[in-house]
């Protein structure tokens, strides 16, 4: 099928089919298009191989300072002749002519002699005869008639005279300029004919279907939401039920219930956000309170205080949500998980945020083991597309044994620490009446998102830069 041409392209081709070798300026004049439209059209046509553009170079000659003077006052020899014509007997002493012509005297004498316009006899110059116009003067006038005073070398036929003028210092300047001419190709000629027929036969004007279209952006969910959703789907697919809990929690559920003593460094204000002057009204059941306090007093040997347990904090982990569910509902068998924002009083940096998302899953069951926990972790990673993972021992205050998992990141080419896990300590479960072992595992989601999107700075996830949000592919 024939190509569809833009109206600009059509106009250019219809001119070129009549006359070849036109410059863009010529085309602009003949098509009544602006020079910019013509240039754009030529680019399109050239790309489609419908025209051929020749880049050429042209030499020009301009009048120099003395050339301009000569145009105004005449060549030196003409000035001499005019002078001689103006005085009696058409002759004078050499010295007189010299006074009159000054610097032009020598070339005037030389050229007038060569033209046989004068004779010199005993220091006297005598006019013999003269021509009305010389070929050199014709060239000067021709150049001078142009605006600007510049002529193409092609326009000057009398090369002999030009050479003579060239020899006169500062009469002529030579320059060159690049320019292009456009020729229609055979394919272009065909296209020009076909287009005529298409546009005349069809009611709907054809458009350039190959041209670039303007950019539009798809509305999307946030990339971090996509990772959170993916993590959630995996937990659900592994048989976990989702819990939702509050961000503001009493210290009791965030710390005490997890056997973190009240003087533990993690509970200090420089690590945990305390809500100013805010205490929980009701914290837990009296039984839960008394048994947890006893566990602290005997395990950590200090004076456990109710007022410290009541202090409201922004949760430092989602474990407070899962432990409360387990304490309140006493599940014997369960798979539960929670995803949400957690808070740490940190200096914000490329590594740390004060607020980030964490996921935590727990498995309660009579016969659950550390190997099961490792297996669930491996399966979670497998479903996230992470192939290699390994386990190292670590320490968490509320789990024993405790492990951390490392995953191999292909892009970074190294092992990266990811989720932590462990089995809740008996000092945590027993006071809350939880009978069966509880496996717990989880970690930060931003870390996974950074690996997924190849980010080196965690803050980029919350910058809300539209340039990034608009360009990051939905699926990768």
């Amino acid at each position: 099928m024939s190509q569809v041409l833009h109206p600009i392209e059509q106009k250019i081709l219809s001119v070129l089919i009549e006359k070849q070798n036109l410059t863009p300026e010529d085309l602009s004049e003949k098509t009544h298009l602006s020079i910019d439209q013509v240039r754009r059209g030529i680019e399109w046509l050239k790309f489609k191989e419908l025209v051929q553009v020749n880049e050429l170079e042209k030499s020009f000659v301009k009048l120099g300072n003395r050339g301009s003077e000569a145009l105004q006052h005449g060549l030196p020899e003409r000035q001499l002749v005019n002078y001689l014509k103006s005085i009696p007997v058409f002759s004078c002493e050499m010295s007189q002519a010299k006074d009159h012509l000054k610097n032009e005297f020598s070339p005037a004498i030389a050229n007038a002699k060569k033209n046989r316009w004068i004779e010199i006899h005993e220091n006297r110059i005598m006019l013999k005869g003269y021509h009305d116009t010389t070929s050199e003067e014709r060239i000067l006038r021709m150049i001078g008639s142009k605006n600007p005073a510049m002529a193409s070398l092609d326009e000057i036929d009398d090369k002999e005279a030009l050479d003579l003028l060239k020899k006169r210092p500062e009469f002529l300047n030579f320059t060159s300029a690049k320019y292009s001419t456009v020729n229609i190709t055979e394919k272009g000629a065909d296209a020009a004919k076909n287009t005529d027929r298409d546009t005349s036969d069809s009611e709907i004007r054809a458009i350039d279907v190959e041209a670039h279209a303007p950019v539009v952006f798809a509305a999307k969910s946030h990339p971090l939401t996509d990772v959170i959703d993916e993590v959630r789907e995996i937990f659900v697919s592994l048989g976990f039920a989702e819990l939702v809990g509050n961000s503001a929690q009493s210290s009791f559920w965030n710390f005490d219930a997890l056997f973190i003593p009240q003087d533990h460094p993690a509970r200090e204000m420089q690590d945990t956000f305390y809500l100013k002057d805010m205490n929980a009204k009701s914290v837990a059941t009296p039984k839960q309170l008394s048994q947890v306090s006893v566990a602290h007093k005997t395990g950590w040997r200090y004076d456990w205080r109710m007022d410290a347990a009541k202090k409201m904090v922004l949760r430092t982990h989602t474990t407070c949500v899962t432990i409360r569910e387990l304490a309140d509902y006493q599940h014997d068998e369960a798979r539960l998980f929670s995803i949400g924002r957690v808070f740490r009083n940190e200096k914000v940096s490329y590594k740390h945020l004060v607020e980030f998302n964490q996921v935590e899953g727990v498995v309660v069951g009579k016969n659950v083991t550390l190997r099961d926990l490792m297996g669930l972790q491996m399966e979670f990673y497998r479903r996230m597309g992470i192939k290699k993972a390994k386990f190292w021992p670590t320490f968490f205050p509320y789990t024993e044994p405790s492990l951390q998992s490392m995953i191999y990141n292909e892009r970074l080419g190294k092992w990266v620490e990811l989720f932590g896990m462990g089995i809740f300590r008996p000092e945590v479960t027993r006071p809350l009446g939880i009978k069966n072992p509880v496996l717990a595992w989880g970690g930060g989601i931003e870390r996974i998102a950074m690996l997924r999107y190849g980010l080196d700075d965690v803050r980029e996830l919350y910058n809300n830069k539209l340039s990034w949000l608009r360009s990051v592919p939905k699926c990768q």
């Binding site: 039920a241 809500l275 040997r301 924002r341 490792m374 491996m378 044994p401």
Partner: protein
């Protein structure tokens, strides 16, 4: 997490066997030590504060010897009976009641050893010592001390030359003018008098928990040491002393007890603890079925003594292992000795189907509807700054919920509205092409009893022809096509919006949100020239119930 520096050359000497760097660095993580940085001659590792014995290369070497099977079993602590005494005076009873001490004789310390011991001391102060509040440690050159010593409370006019000075200072001057005095003076705020340790010639050797005396400064020339630990809790004091004592013995010192007298105080023995471990707890917890003999070997590799006693395993735990509370901690010791890498992961089958929370399901529907309407999701923090939340939006601050001691101006208060964050997002994207249509769902906070958390949805549209009508269409469509909810709007006021183009959003006569065109003054505050319209609605109670 605290960090300890391990030089391979020193480590090789301490291990007593030539072990390759690769073997060492690949074994360290299985002691629970995270490699932070590795160079040609050393490696920096992070250790958990519950293992203060890993605060020196001596302690790490002891652990490595076990896992590498160079030495098994518990390191024996040998303390000979000493005759020197410290008397704890009644006057310290209400300030810092406990003191324990030990003498370490005939050792040699190079600069690196001294550096390791000082780091250990600091890590003990921060961990077990709870930043010196609970426990503080003083290590002294024994040659400068004349026994018997007295631990007593003195007035703040008491004078001596502190470690960091060359001139005598009063207690008050030390607390006000020295670096450690300023850092820890709050620990002594409760009492007028302060505790000091004075020797028989009247020299003050220590001012716990602040600073030692210049007189007893430890140098590489010191051969005999006195270690004293003062504390609010006697067991914690012994914990700290045990870690120091084991380390100094490994350095090569011979240990002698120091007799302590005085009310509530007594001489310490730092004896090992006995604990019984049921092999079935090990197998049930780890998911193994190994014999008690394997468990015993694993425990011995973790530098514990263990032997089979009937159906149980009897363990002997050295006094410095303060992290072992009960049998479950011994289970982890078995796992480490057995090798975490030798535990084969198993995937237990799920017994029930998983499910998303109904809040999540409803939120997903709201988000998808907004995306269908052409709005892109953004994410802001819940803990925000006052400036954006109130000052720039011209909203009246009331019932603000703040956090204490935030390290950042931008994270001081809990947001009570999402709109300010969205406008801020727009203002940071003025160089991007328009229209800009964005939304956010997230938690907002109100003072209640004591606090109420709600999930909101807010959206803004920014372009040259934006109007109240456009954004109201979006609101209606979100509620109608998302949740089959009809809403009405009633003229209202909010400083963030233009007067006359602001309305309350009502569902069944109840206000669920606010809608309008942004006030030009607010846009000026955010340095924006493009007009913006938006709304914010409360989803909690509308599309799902309170959690």
């Amino acid at each position: 997490m605290p960090v300890v520096t391990l030089y391979f050359e020193r480590l090789t000497k301490l291990l007593g066997r030539k072990i390759s760097k690769e073997k060492i660095t690949s074994t360290l993580p299985f002691l629970g030590l995270d490699i932070e940085e590795q160079t040609l001659d050393h490696v920096n590792v992070e250790y958990s504060p519950n293992r203060p014995d890993f605060s020196t290369d001596y302690g790490v070497a002891t652990g490595l010897q076990g896992l590498l099977e160079i030495k098994l079993d518990m390191p024996q602590l040998k303390i000979k009976k000493g005759t020197d005494t410290i008397r704890a005076d009644l006057s310290v009873g209400k300030i810092r009641p406990y003191i324990v001490a030990i003498k370490a004789m005939g050792g040699k310390m190079d600069d690196e050893t001294i550096r390791q011991i000082i780091t250990m001391q600091e890590d003990l102060h921060n961990g077990i010592g709870r930043r010196r509040k609970k426990v503080s440690i003083g290590i002294h050159d024994l040659a400068k001390i004349k026994f018997p010593l007295v631990y007593k409370a003195v007035e703040r006019t008491h004078r001596f030359v502190p470690l960091t000075s060359n001139t005598e200072m009063t207690i008050s001057e030390i607390l006000e003018n020295t670096e450690t005095g300023i850092a820890y003076s709050h620990l002594l705020e409760a009492s007028k008098k302060v505790p000091v340790i004075v020797d028989s010639t009247g020299n003050t050797i220590s001012f716990p928990p602040i600073i030692n005396s210049k007189l007893t400064e430890v140098t590489s020339k010191s051969k005999d040491l006195l270690v004293e630990v003062t504390a609010l809790d006697k067991t914690a004091a012994e914990d700290a002393l045990a870690v120091v004592a084991y380390t100094l013995q490994t350095v090569g010192f011979k240990l002698y007890s120091v007799r302590i007298s005085g009310s509530r105080n007594s001489t310490v023995s730092l004896e090992s603890r006995k604990m019984l471990l049921d092999p079935s707890l090990v197998n049930d917890t780890l998911g193994l079925s190994v014999s008690p003999a394997v468990m015993v070997k694993s425990l011995r590799k973790n530098r514990l003594d263990a032997r089979i006693k009937g159906k149980q395993i009897l363990c002997l735990i050295p006094r410095y292992r303060t992290d072992i509370f009960g049998p479950i901690d011994l289970v982890e010791e078995v796992a480490l000795g057995y090798g975490i890498q030798n535990l084969e992961p198993t995937l237990p089958p799920a017994k029930s189907a998983g499910q998303k929370n109904r809040v999540t399901v409803s939120l997903e529907a709201a988000r998808n509807t907004m995306i269908g309407l052409g709005y892109s999701e953004v994410m802001n923090f819940g803990l925000v700054g006052k400036q954006i939340q109130y000052d720039l939006t011209k909203r009246e601050p009331s019932g603000i919920i703040s956090v204490s001691d935030s390290k950042s101006q931008e994270h001081q208060i809990l947001r009570n509205s999402l709109l300010p964050g969205l406008v801020d997002t727009l203002s940071r994207n003025i160089h991007e092409s328009y229209p800009q249509k964005i939304f956010e769902t997230g938690t907002v906070f109100y003072r209640d009893n004591p606090i109420n958390e709600e999930i909101h949805l807010a959206c803004t549209s920014a372009h040259n022809d934006v109007s109240y009508t456009e954004i109201k269409s979006v609101l209606q469509s979100l509620l109608k096509s998302g949740f089959d909810i009809a809403c009405t709007t009633k003229i209202s006021q909010d400083p963030i919006f233009v007067e006359g183009r602001t309305a309350d959003i009502l569902v069944d006569g109840k206000k669920i949100g606010i809608i309008g065109e942004l006030a030009s003054g607010v846009l000026d505050n955010f340095k924006m020239r493009i007009p913006v319209a938006g709304f914010e609605i409360k989803l909690t109670g509308l599309i799902f119930d309170q959690t």
